[in-house]
Symmetry: C2
């Protein structure tokens, strides 16, 4: 089978990671990446050997900055089988029209609405639903996290209802424009989008989410209360979580009490950009009382969706079934969970 030709439109937090992750796979290649403006990230892309494409109207800007683009976005679209669209939220429709006209497949990210594609993707919960489709959407970091754990738990125990509070990072580590710097900011419009977003993949799940933005950059934390379909034990739940793909259990007793300690461990793991692709669950924080389950999980907002994007390419291009793709992606990215 020939390798699948992948383009990456947008080379920010997600795009640059998808580019590196795709490059590490044996069955796909990065034809080029699109960066809207020339900056340090663009130079890093050149240095890494990626062909850099630019929006037609910005080609001169690139030349002035000493970067010769390999072509325009439209040029790249003609050369690929599938585009991973990591442009900022809500410009998806503009590009979708271009992809449609060119007859190429495209993956959108969680910043776009489910309605843009009609199908949303998570490797664990619904890999097969994106099989062969032209357009799909990898849900956002928080939604991916919820699907990674609630998916297997729902299969094991049937979840009657779930109440989630998301304690959101205020900014990514490389940002310096948002806050709060010392404050807590609730998302007062309820429900927050995360619940309906989970339902775009698991439509039967009765889930409500609340969210508070806090002064941190490293990760989100979620508190989950789930009413199970039957009484269960904490040990049964831990067994399901241990077996769940891309879920990593850690122990406070082992010195991992906080998200900054999780990210310190991620740096020790030696992965690209010190990322933590897995959803991290505190083992001592899992507790079942009767039919009610409580747990905490941490979400590395910059990277948890990266393996999902790789798997989504395989599903849409009919390259491998779900478990095989997850295994391939994991091996290439150094994920052993």
């Amino acid at each position: 089978m020939a390798t699948v030709k992948v383009g990456i439109n947008g080379y920010g937090t997600i795009g640059k990671r998808v580019a590196d992750a795709v490059r590490k796979q044996k069955d796909m290649e990065v034809v080029g990446i699109v960066k809207a403006h020339p900056n340090y990230e663009t130079r890093m892309a050149v240095q890494k050997g990626f062909a850099v494409y630019a929006p037609a109207e910005n080609v001169d800007l690139f030349k002035e900055a000493g970067i010769e683009p390999a072509g325009t976005v439209d040029d790249l679209i003609k050369e690929v089988d599938i585009m991973v669209d990591c442009t900022p939220g809500n410009v998806g429709q503009y590009y979708k029209d271009k992809y449609q006209a060119a007859g190429v497949k495209a993956i959108f990210e969680g910043g776009e609405e489910h309605s843009l594609t009609g199908v949303s993707f998570n490797s664990t919960a619904n890999y097969q639903e994106s099989w062969g489709v032209q357009f799909s959407r990898v849900v956002s970091c928080n939604t991916t996290a919820l699907l990674r754990t609630l998916g297997p738990l729902d299969k094991a125990f049937r979840i009657e209802s779930a109440y989630v509070t998301i304690i959101r990072r205020a900014a990514d580590p490389g940002d310096s424009k948002t806050g709060p710097v010392n404050g807590l900011e609730p998302s007062v419009r309820l429900p927050t989008h995360h619940g309906p977003d989970v339902q775009s993949v698991m439509p039967w799940l009765n889930i409500t989410t609340m969210a508070v933005k806090v002064s941190t950059t490293l990760m989100h934390v979620q508190t989950v209360v789930a009413k199970l379909g039957r009484d269960a034990t904490t040990e049964e739940v831990l067994a399901v979580l241990r077996a769940a793909p891309r879920v990593r259990l850690v122990k406070a007793a082992d010195g991992i009490k906080s998200t900054n300690q999780i990210m310190e461990m991620a740096r020790d793991l030696g992965r690209d950009r010190s990322d933590m692709y897995e959803i991290v669950v505190w083992e001592e924080g899992v507790k079942v009382v009767g039919d009610t389950l409580y747990y905490y999980q941490a979400v590395h907002q910059e990277s948890d969706v990266i393996p999902e994007n790789v798997d989504c390419i395989r599903a849409m291009c009919k390259m491998a079934d779900g478990p095989a793709s997850v295994a391939q992606t994991n091996q290439a990215l150094g994920i052993d969970h």
Copy 2:
């Protein structure tokens, strides 16, 4: 009626506020405060005209620092009707024995266990239970917050169960020793103490709490999910909260989106230390779906228990009934909610 003679043992975050609040009441007076070590807060107490007492073993330290103590802790105990014990958590038993021996009443704070006193106090929920008792305990800031809103809601709708996530400040504004600085730290031992603490005042309430410590100093935020005994409307719930003592509704649309904006408003209110005694609920964040209520509330950890301490003195010294005491305290402290 003669004014009640009050001593304050411990002059930190809570103690210094209780001292000022008691001083503002017409029916009680501060005989003296106890500070363990001479520091800038001790000098401020002297400057404010409080008689400063010291532990016997530290009297020399005070003299060396140029502060002449009015006496020892034991001296102060002999001069008061009631002591408000704001010493650090878990030294309560040591002092309780002294109060007991001297036959004086004493209030402990939320850092002590309910079992120390056998009765815990909240002005709204159970004022009368501390009527005339020798020892009572004003519950902690987070517990006080939950009682302020869940108490009236339970009366109006009967709460079947409540799931609360507490997003806790890492340190008080004046602290510089704790963290996390950039991270989120869940309390993995479930349930956290807050649920049982609420039950020390409302034993019939089925409540579970989870908590995450975050990088902020100003306030806590709580997300509350409450199953009501019947279907209700958002407007009905708002009406109950509007009528609830020491609960203040704010609007994100009015520019109060975050805890730092709440505290900015508190500074504009001109109260002592720019405190926010009320529990602050975001109006747009209150939502009822069927029988399930969701809301966010913010808690000024340094001050919400202060009016409660004043009321507790009145209950224990049989000075006024609940509503009368709340009204008096509120007027003296500038609380109009």
